[in-house]
Amino acid sequence: MRHIISILMENESGALSRVAGLFSARGYNIESLTVAPTEDPSLSRMTLVTRGSEEIIEQITKQLNKLIDVVKLIDLAESFHIERELMMVKIKTSPEIRDEIRSMADIFRGKIIDVTPTTYIVEMTGPSEKLDAFIAAVDPETIVEVVRSGPTGISRGEKSLHV
């Protein structure tokens, strides 16, 4: 099953490699990983998407908690949460298909953020599946480049991850 583990950690050099190293050393898989400092610059927040049985996920969270740099973590998949990923897609556009791409971007609530005579860049955020759906809907011949941030997430309501 897919899990989104959200981690608050010390914003120290090497902290990211401790997490990445743990996953490779113990044979866990990482689907995606995003990290950036929080409003408190001494803390980073990392969102990590992984897959595994309940036992594996339990071990992953325990092993992550053991890392000295990890302050706190939650498995977002365990409760109601909002998940978003940012994507930018560069699309080759001929005059015949420019309207189609524009309306498609509208349907998916994307924005065209760069225009040249031959290309568009579409910016889009949403759950990962929505971004997948957009990619699937565009003619693969026209896609020049896809950049995705990997998902990040936050708990709904009062529940939160903070120090």
């Binding site: 010390e10 490699s17 190293g21 071990q59 908690n65 053991k66 000295i68 740099d69 990890v70």
Partner: protein, 578 residues
């Protein structure tokens, strides 16, 4: 008080109460060594190879319970220390390893003797620090000791760039009394409800067994474990790392469990209905094949590290906490409980265990003309009256020492259990002897293992650490040969060296006493003579039966109930060579 980085490091160690530092100098730590030279409080032990420094500090830590401290230079000094760091990590031993690093401005430029020590050690340390600011040095050292010694202990590396220790840069020094880290809270007390449930389950058991490991030794909970076990009257088995946590000569002790554990301990595990695992981690050498592990048992597991719980074996009642207070609470609950252990069931259980014990799985041939290694260990036990600190290397001799030297006290049995590091025994013995100069210290080893850190014989002379080296010399890498006999149809691929040194001469060359023992009747007098030489390191080169195997054994892929026992008529190899 204003001090340079080098002085701060030395003074911090003194203020931390460090007695010995095991190390080897080099370019990146020269400022530090200059600071060491100008004081006398902190004693430096110069080893002959950095691996020896880590093992010696490790032996010191295992014997005393205090953290071992190591100082090595950058590059090769640092990488040489890695095996010892990993050894300590696998057995949860507190070490603080200070490694020199090239100066901050040149880090990353492939400078002379530069290696990414933080990166290399990341998977085998509890934590590591790169010091980038001399004003944070004292605090970092305090943090390192705090992390290494609390919770589940482990090694911590502090990587110190050379310019941080420069003599001309002085900053105010104050060693912090306490340190707090928001991301590290090691104090965990066991969940009261879980402890109550565990006691209820234990008291309802028909065929209970206590399975205790190295966590009891590390957690200083031997006294509590002993009281708890006697109160219940249940059988107890120890892991390799837990030997000595419960007195081995006590009648409730049924031996070590696992691959070379006793038949009775493994059968009792297999047939039990309730297991309480205390400070043990269900290592693969203990469990055998997981699918076959303890099929009838409900399992209680006490461990300070939540990640140890349910890692390989599912447990019914997990208790995360320090073993000592958890056991104290359990003892109180058992005493207060109106329900008592089922006496009748327990009697029947002990009768069953007696049947298994009657198999006498540790019997060996005492009549032949060759020296049996088991006999040597038995004699070692008698000559030292069971009071020695015994370090070991890795292989057959390690298993025989574990099987035939019953340890009644914790911290007396010092071996590399998790990583299985050959070369551990000799430097570890030096560390133990420094800590306990009046105690008998024996290093049980083999002719293959001892050669992996033999250079430390020189260290033993320099620091006058008279230890006794019991070299069970069978002219084979015995454990490798045994596996090759059992599973590779006796194809002894590279498990034999035909150029084994003359150890007597080698010992003498290093300034020690060497003895060669060829006959069984010479063993006892030689051991007595060796231990009588209180101020000399003695190397006993004992020519043992080449074909002896470690029995009993759970072979790979088998369960506890499926042990290979010694065949009375001898092993296949015995017959082949006869």
């Amino acid at each position: 008080m204003e001090l340079s980085g080098g002085q701060i490091l030395v003074q911090s160690l003194i203020d931390e109460g460090v007695e010995y530092i095991f190390g080897y100098p080099g370019g990146a730590v020269l400022h530090l060594y200059d600071a060491l030279f100008q004081q006398e409080a902190l004693k430096h032990i110069l080893v002959r190879h950095e691996q020896g420094a880590t093992h010696a500090a490790d032996g010191y830590a295992r014997a005393t319970g205090k953290p071992g401290v190591v100082l090595v230079t950058s590059g090769p000094g640092a990488t040489n220390a890695v095996t010892g760091i990993a050894t300590a990590y696998m057995d949860s031993i507190p070490l603080v390893v200070i490694s020199g690093q090239v100066s901050l401005p040149v880090i990353g430029s492939d400078a002379f003797q530069e290696v990414d020590m933080i990166g290399i050690t990341r998977p085998c340390v509890k934590h590591n620090f790169l010091v980038k600011d001399v004003t944070k040095l004292a605090e970092t050292i305090k943090k390192a000791f705090y992390v290494a010694t609390t919770g589940r202990p482990g090694p911590v590396v502090i990587d110190v760039p050379k310019d941080i220790t420069a003599p001309h840069i002085k900053v105010p020094y104050k060693y912090p009394k306490k340190v707090a880290m928001r991301s590290y809270n090691p104090v965990v007390s066991g969940h009261k409800g879980q402890i109550k449930k565990a006691v209820e389950l234990l008291l309802a058991a028909q065929k209970p067994i206590i399975y205790a490991g190295g966590g009891v030794v590390l957690g200083e909970a031997s006294k509590e474990l002993t009281e708890f076990t006697r109160l219940l009257g249940y059988p107890i088995t120890n892991t390799l790392m837990g030997l000595g946590a419960y007195p081995a000569t006590d009648k409730q002790f049924i031996g070590m469990l696992g691959m070379h554990g006793t038949y009775e301990a493994n059968m009792a595990m297999h047939e039990s209905d309730v297991i309480i695992a205390i400070g043990a981690r269900f290592d693969d050498r203990v469990t055998g094949k997981l699918d076959l592990f303890c099929p009838y048992a409900k399992i209680i597991h006490i461990d300070i590290d939540p990640a140890s719980i349910a890692k390989t074996v599912k447990v019914d009642i997990p208790i995360v906490g320090d073993v000592k207070p958890v056991l104290e609470q359990m003892i109180a609950l058992v005493k207060d409980s109106p329900k008592k252990a089922n006496k009748k069931a327990l009697e029947a259980w002990w009768q069953q265990i007696a049947v298994w014990q009657a198999v006498d799985c540790l019997q060996f041939d005492r009549t032949g003309p060759l020296i049996k290694p088991q006999y040597v260990i038995e004699q070692l036990y008698e000559v030292t009256k069971g009071e020695a600190y015994v370090t070991s290397d890795v292989g057959q001799h390690q298993m025989w020492a574990a099987q035939y030297y019953p340890f009644d006290k914790p911290r007396r049995w010092i071996n590399s259990g998790g990583l299985g590091t050959m070369g551990f025994g000799l430097p570890a013995a030096i560390g133990v002897k420094l800590a306990f100069p009046d105690a008998d210290v024996a290093c049980v080893t083999g002719e293959a293992s001892i050669q992996m850190c033999i250079q430390e014989l020189s260290t033993a002379l320099q620091y006058k650490t008279p230890i006794k080296i019991i070299n069970l010399n069978n002219r084979y890498m015995g454990m490798v040969r045994q596996w090759q006999e059992f599973t590779y149809e006796s194809r002894y691929s590279h498990s034999y060296m035909d150029t084994i040194p003359e150890f007597v001469k080698l010992a003498e060359a290093y300034g020690h006493v060497g003895m060669r023992i060829d006959k069984p009747e010479e063993v006892r007098p030689a051991l007595e003579a060796a231990f009588a030489m209180k101020d000399r390191t003695v190397f006993l080169d004992i020519m043992t039966d080449r074909t002896e195997n470690v029995y009993p054994m759970i072979e790979a892929g088998k369960g506890h109930h499926d042990m290979k026992l010694r065949v009375a008529t001898g092993t296949s190899t015995d017959r082949e060579l006869a």
